[in-house]
């Protein structure tokens, strides 16, 4: 099927997968380097925040809260890397769905599983973004920040999976209508 929106989605998705993969490898390297050496000045354009890692072109740009301490950096880095991994998997599953639509197999059973997987990955993102660890110099503090947007995303994915299940049932019935 020749559809400009599907073509655009494929191109954007593939581009994002390459970009996120490269960023993930770079972040793993930076996180390990900073965690081991404690040198945060070399990579001056990266700020470690409670939300993960923050890129900026300015040394003096205001960021939500720059963290300090190697343990906290390791936690932020690991959280950001895992989050990127989840995004890569979500995009890959979405690309599978787009490919099936292009080959006119929209309601195949694999697409139901793809949407369920995307829903689960969004739940993982919810957890990754919810747990925040901070270190105030003396002891560790943790807090939990609940973002309902992720939960809504999961819900939408599971609803889509059920819609596709119904579509699959209709497709099978259509196949067996002579």
């Amino acid at each position: 099927m020749d559809n400009p929106i599907l073509y655009l989605a494929t191109v954007v998705g593939k581009g994002l997968v390459y970009l996120l993969s490269a960023s993930m490898f770079f972040l793993v390297f930076v996180t390990i380097y900073v965690a081991i050496t404690g040198d945060m000045e070399t990579f001056w354009y990266i700020h470690f925040t409670e939300k993960g890692i923050f890129f900026t072109n300015s040394l003096y740009q205001e960021v939500p809260r720059v963290v300090s301490g190697q343990g906290e950096i390791l936690f932020s880095g690991l959280s950001a890397v895992l989050g990127m991994g989840c995004y890569i998997l979500i995009i890959r599953e979405s690309l599978k769905v787009v490919r099936s639509i292009k080959s006119l197999e929209t309601f195949r059973i694999d697409n139901i599983r793809s949407f369920q997987r995307i829903g689960k990955l969004i739940l993982v993102l919810l957890v990754l973004n919810a747990v925040i660890l901070t270190h105030n110099g003396h002891h560790w503090d943790w807090y939990f920040e609940f973002n309902p947007t992720y939960l809504l995303g999961t819900l939408v994915c599971y609803i889509l999976a059920e819609i596709f299940r119904e579509g699959n049932k209709l497709m099978e019935e259509q196949k067996l209508t002579i």
Binding site: E173, L176, T177, I178
Partner: protein
């Protein structure tokens, strides 16, 4: 399913092969086989009409209701 397809019986009576009937109906042999084996979930009126015309019979000769 309590609806039984007696297509094979009618085909034997009319001495017509699956290949020839499929060609006459304009469907594939695989689809005709689905119909004959009772795996079909539904039958289009147009297909039923074509079968009746090809085998010179009534829908009741092909479809039969057997209570479970």
């Amino acid at each position: 399913m309590p609806i039984v397809v007696n297509l094979d019986v009618m085909m034997a009576k009319r001495k017509i092969r699956s290949k020839d009937l499929a060609r006459e109906l304009g469907i594939t042999e695989a689809n005709l086989s689905i119909l004959k084996t009772g795996k079909a979930k539904a039958i289009r009126f147009s297909t039923l009409e074509a079968i009746c015309q090809a085998l010179d019979c009534q829908p009741g000769d092909i479809l039969e209701f057997q209570p479970e």
